[in-house]
């Protein structure tokens, strides 16, 4: 499998979780998130069990807790939102340390916080154990619209080329004594952006020519057949299935 394009969320290791085919992991995370979201918010213990399940997966994947927690910081904006809820929501209120808080808002905040954290943690685990390239293959395998997968592939491939072009244009600007300071210079920047767009567009045309020359006729040929054995599927789906049992218990109790 392609070794390039290690992204910042990825953590290189050889673990049973890393070795799973990408589409089984994608399906497992998706199912896990659906189960978590459909769990009643009052079943507090269920969320604790989910957290333990994820911790187990992280251990299998040899992802250290510190790494996981640091990546969870993506979630901070949601936390801010959740913290506001008890203050602004209406309905029955309780007094905590002299502050009047809405009961409904408290539950709402808990709901967002618990489900959000679990969802983000599951995604971070997926990203930590799967390379970008593999994720794309997995999406392709899960029959996501091929056009979307192609667009994502090209973004990976040409992201650097375009950033490089941008850098060269900036160097050319600055070599001629230009420095962007304040609103007056935005016009120049806008023109550069326009030129960048045209250059990228023309490159797109040339790349398309090259693709057609090698027999491209509208769909990407399948180069790496990603297949999963029954054992690999059941291994990957153990997480959402266990979660489902917990969720059902949460509704029943």
């Amino acid at each position: 499998m392609g070794a390039g394009h290690a992204h910042r969320l990825y953590r290189h290791a050889h673990s049973p979780v890393h070795a799973l085919p990408p589409h089984t992991k994608l399906a497992a995370v998706f199912a896990f998130v659906v189960v978590v979201v459909s769990t009643p918010r009052e079943a507090v213990w269920a969320f604790a069990v989910y957290a333990v399940l994820l911790a187990l997966v992280a251990r299998y994947a040899r992802v250290p807790a510190g790494f996981l927690l640091k990546r969870l910081l993506i979630e901070v904006p949601f936390v801010a939102f959740a913290v506001l809820m008890p203050f602004v929501a209406r309905g029955e209120r309780v007094d905590v340390l002299g502050l009047s808080l809405s009961v409904n808002g408290l539950w709402g905040a808990w709901n967002v916080l618990a489900k959000g954290t679990l969802g983000v943690a599951a995604s971070v685990l997926l990203a930590a154990t799967t390379e970008l390239r593999e994720l794309l293959l997995g999406l392709q395998r899960l029959r996501l619209p091929p056009l979307l997968v192609q667009i994502a592939s090209f973004m990976i491939r040409y992201g650097d080329v375009i950033t490089d072009e941008m850098r060269r244009m900036r160097i050319a600007r600055e070599s001629r004594g230009f420095e962007a300071r304040g609103v007056r210079h935005w016009g120049v920047l806008a023109k550069s952006a326009g030129a960048l767009f045209i250059r990228s567009y023309e490159r797109g045309e040339r790349v398309h020519l090259a693709m057609v020359s090698r027999g491209y006729a509208g769909s990407m040929p399948v180069i790496d057949e990603v297949t999963a054995s029954r054992a690999q599927w059941s291994y990957a789906l153990a997480l959402p299935l266990t979660a489902l049992v917990v969720c059902l218990l949460g509704w029943a109790l």
Binding site: M1, G2, A3, G4, H5, R133, L136, S153, F154, I156, R157, Y158, D160, V161, R203, R206, V207, L209, A210, M211, V212, S213, R214, G215, Y216, A217, P221, V222, I223, D224, E225
Partner: protein, 255 residues
């Protein structure tokens, strides 16, 4: 269409004329043939129509008049897939040619589009990368390679399709002298018909026993490279200049 024999030329272009949609006529009746296994240079000043001609060879542009035949197969809508497999074009900028996330996938793209799978696909990819000496780079992303390495991989992407004829648009441009020589060694070692568009006249002399001069949309000369480059009148008439101090008469070529 006659049976394909050893006599059938790899490429047969006759009476080819073409005007761009904006009315600018770039080719005015081009005629030439290239036999199987030949290495031929296509020389000519900027704007002569060389790239336009190349784009006709695999049917990206279609002739206004005249015809192109590849190994006995006419270039046209009917055989397009097969033509694209037989004619391997290496474009000038390898960043345009290498569009997949890894070298291996890029080299596999052409054969996979032709329906080759599994072990055979792997073998094709490995073979092509070995031919250009890039087998160790299979899993690297193309944009992390040096320019010369990218050019070599671009050649491999085309070799993996096992083409009848390899067409290179300015293969030596932007290469440092060592990469330029390495590419020459690779091209010499290949057992395919080669048509090489180039402004690098010493390179043409080194690699191609025969040259065509395209000028103002017609073939102005066709003959042994050494003779054409030594003909000062001809060279001046078509804006072709040898590098300072280079004398084609004093070069002995092994090709």
């Amino acid at each position: 269409m006659g049976p394909v024999t050893a006599e059938t030329p790899s490429l047969d272009v006759s009476g080819l004329a073409f005007a761009y949609p904006d009315g600018h006529q770039a080719l005015f009746g081009v005629d030439f043939r290239i036999g199987r296994g030949e290495r031929v240079a296509l020389l000519g000043p900027n704007g002569a129509g060389k790239t336009t001609l190349v784009l006709h060879l695999n049917g990206i542009l279609t002739a206004g008049a005249g015809s192109v035949t590849v190994a006995g197969l006419p270039v046209g809508r009917r055989h397009m897939a097969e033509i694209r497999r037989k004619v391997g074009i290496v474009f000038q900028d390898p960043d345009d040619q290498l569009f997949m996330p890894t070298v291996r996938e890029d080299v596999a793209f052409g054969p996979a589009a032709a329906g080759i799978k599994g072990a055979e696909l792997e073998a094709r990819v490995r073979g092509a990368l070995e031919q250009v000496g890039m087998a160790d780079f299979a899993d690297r992303p193309p944009h992390h390679l040096s320019f010369g390495q990218r050019r070599r991989v671009a050649v491999a992407t085309v070799l993996a399709m096992e083409p009848e004829i390899l067409v290179l648009d300015e293969p030596s441009s932007n290469l440092d002298p060592a990469s330029r020589r390495e590419l020459a060694d690779i091209l010499r070692s290949l057992d395919v018909t080669v048509l090489m568009v180039t402004h690098d006249l010493p390179y043409a002399l080194e690699l191609c026993p025969r040259s065509l001069i395209l000028s103002d949309g017609v073939i102005a000369a066709d003959g042994p490279t050494g003779e054409l480059l030594s003909d000062d009148v001809l060279m001046r008439a078509h804006r072709l200049e040898l590098p300072f101090g280079f004398d084609p008469r004093s070069v002995t070529t092994s090709a």
